[in-house]
């Protein structure tokens, strides 16, 4: 990376995949061969991606650090910059700087049961750790994924669930509303494990000693954490990724300041215990 932390490095979009009607996954490579080879990150970190002429946005890296030579970012068309990115084609140039922020506790949870609960595009911020754990399967005990979205067409990475199952992950998918010929679970993702009676949905047992990783829309995180605590999980063992308007990524611009913390630097990964402490500030 350049010495000036605000200056991105040129990179090229090498592949684009539609995930949903408004979410695309971009595979991106650094132009600098040295960076392409050696740039690395930890699962859970994010980059600032530039669409030059439009601006810069923070995006979680959805690929695992075990994938070398390129990174993958899932981007939803939700603002000026992301709209510009969505119009881009393979071969187009973007700017990348990072990686920024802290990461999922991939080392601390070695030898443990790990359950990932995710909603919507939030899955793109946990596939990094999921794929990392799959690549280092012997380091972890049971790996579980509970994932839901509003409707079947809003599920992301649909072509990968079977691959993850084959790799030994206990995968459970649900949608809030049945649409079309959906035959799977119907119900909110938290219903998979909480006490809510839900006839159209399989109940899932999360191992009692599991470390839980939660990522999704703020409302989902909120209720998910409440339900987990109710089920006996300790707030210190629940990890989540917060969002913020992380303009600079390096704790200077002030936009993601919540309480005395900067999401870009002290986060984006916090334990539920830490999040609660921030809310009380």
């Amino acid at each position: 990376m350049t010495e000036n932390p605000y200056v991105p490095n040129m990179a090229t979009i090498t592949n684009i995949k539609d995930l949903t009607s408004d979410i695309k996954s971009f595979a991106i490579q650094f132009d600098d061969p040295n960076l392409k080879e050696n740039w690395t990150f930890k699962p859970g970190q994010f980059v600032e991606i530039s669409a030059f002429g439009h601006g810069e946005v923070p995006i979680s890296i959805s690929s695992s650090p075990t994938l070398k030579g390129q990174i993958e970012l899932a981007i939803r068309n939700s603002g000026t910059v992301t709209a510009a990115l969505q119009k881009m084609k393979t071969g187009d140039k973007v700017g990348l700087r990072g990686p920024y922020g802290n990461w999922w506790p991939y080392e601390k949870i070695k030898g443990k049961n790990v359950t990932i609960i995710s909603g919507g595009i939030g899955l793109a911020a946990v596939t990094n750790i999921l794929k990392y754990m799959i690549a280092n399967k012997s380091d972890y005990k049971k790996i579980q994924l509970l994932y839901g979205s509003v409707v079947p067409s809003a599920l992301v990475f649909t072509d990968e669930y079977e691959k993850w199952r084959q790799a030994g992950v206990d995968v459970h998918i649900t949608v809030d509303r049945r649409v079309g010929d959906w035959t799977g679970n119907v119900g909110i993702v938290t219903w998979l494990f909480n006490e809510q009676p839900a006839p159209e949905l399989e109940k899932v047992k999360i191992p009692e000693d599991a470390t839980v990783i939660v990522c999704g829309p703020p409302i989902m995180i909120h209720f998910c954490c409440l339900d987990l605590v109710k089920s006996g999980f300790k707030p210190e063992n629940i990890y989540l990724s917060l969002e913020g308007h992380m303009k600079c990524g390096i704790g200077k611009c002030g936009h993601c300041n919540i309480g005395p913390k900067y999401v870009c630097r002290d986060g984006p990964v916090f334990t539920y215990a830490e999040k609660k402490a921030l809310e009380e500030q």
């Binding site: 200056v7 601006g55 700017g95 308007h245 002030g254 005395p260």
Partner: protein
């Protein structure tokens, strides 16, 4: 900031112009003019030290807008401006503000420091000549915040108006060298006592009726009610932030000029609703009282927690410019004890 014990000298008032001219060797001289702005000066006659400027010299280390980079084709170029400047006649409150900004942009964390090169390049090239305040203005409460009316550190040279002469004190090695070059006559102990008198008189006139003892505890208990009460009056103009010498928040945006993309950073303010806007999610801080709380907590708690400095210096500018008469000193008083 390490403060070497000063060896005070004297500057005859008729030699003021000579003094200012000599400082030009250290860089472009920026000083307060009679229009109340800190501007480059060619001649000492342009300098007006009589009023405390509403303008904040922060602009010279952290400009309102600053180019971050340019992109043309596949080439990204960044230029970091780092001109040598002498900031002349800087008031003690603003010197404290510079220290606060410096710790922030230089990075206060212990591990994985990331410095802001745009700020640091300018800050490191500064020569700061303080001007200790002989008079307060309305809303001044530096004495309560412990930043003035006399600067203790954070400058190269400090001037105090003793009536017939200026007392010139070095704040560091560089200041001592400048004094040596100018061969100023030494000041007497009596002159130092006169400086104390100037300070005493200024504090008396400032007449601050509160002290901030207990603020660190009280703020956590009172900030919600105070923010709610004053938030009702706020018209969300952001003026308090834009005039604040320690406000450091900024935003960045791109503009396109033909084939060249220019990215700039520019001041931003946490009081504006859009400050925490997150595409696809909404506002982290939507109601005005949550934004007023953020401002109060950042000024009076967070930086204290992070690096043991309040980022309110008591300069009073926010109170001076507020069209709704929301006065920082009133909010602090209410937090500490009043209600």
């Amino acid at each position: 900031m390490e403060h070497t014990h000063p060896h005070a000298h004297k500057l005859e008032k008729e030699k003021f112009a000579e003094f200012v001219n000599a400082l030009k060797a250290e860089g472009e001289v920026i000083a307060p003019k009679s229009n109340g702005l800190y501007l480059p000066v060619e001649d000492a006659s342009e300098i007006d030290l009589s009023k405390i400027p509403l303008d904040c010299p922060k602009n010279y280390v952290f400009p309102i807008t600053e180019k971050v980079l340019e992109v043309e084709g596949n080439k990204i170029t960044s230029t970091v401006e780092s001109k040598k400047r002498v900031l002349f006649g800087i008031r003690p409150c603003d010197i404290a503000a510079f220290q606060c900004l410096k710790i922030f942009f230089e990075d206060y964390v212990e591990e994985g420091k990331i410095q802001d090169p745009y700020f640091m390049s300018k800050m490191n090239k500064l020569t700061i000549v303080a001007y200790n305040c002989p008079e307060p203005k309305e809303h001044c409460f530096c004495a309560a915040m412990g930043t003035g009316p006399v600067a203790e550190s954070g400058f190269d040279l400090a001037l105090t108006d003793l009536g017939d002469v200026y007392l010139v004190e070095p704040g560091n090695q560089k200041g001592e060298e400048i004094i040596q070059k100018l061969s100023l006559p030494p000041a007497s102990f009596e002159d130092m006592e006169r400086k104390e008198d100037v300070k005493k008189q200024c504090i008396e006139k400032m007449n601050v009726t509160f002290n901030i003892q207990g603020l660190d505890e009280a703020i956590h208990q009172k900030v919600d009610t105070v923010a709610e009460e004053y938030g009702k009056k706020c018209i969300v103009c952001g003026g308090c932030n834009f005039f604040c010498p320690t406000c450091s928040c900024f935003n960045m945006s791109d503009t396109v000029d033909g084939k060249v993309v220019k990215r700039e950073k520019f001041w931003d303010t946490c009081l504006l609703r859009g400050f925490t806007w997150l595409a696809g999610v909404g506002f982290e801080r939507d109601p005005i009282d949550s934004r007023m709380k953020q401002r109060l907590m950042h000024k009076l708690s967070y930086t204290k927690e992070h690096y043991n400095m309040y980022s309110c210096t008591g300069c009073g500018r926010c109170s001076q410019v507020c069209p709704s008469f929301i006065f920082m000193e009133d909010m602090i008083k209410d937090i500490i004890g009043g209600k």
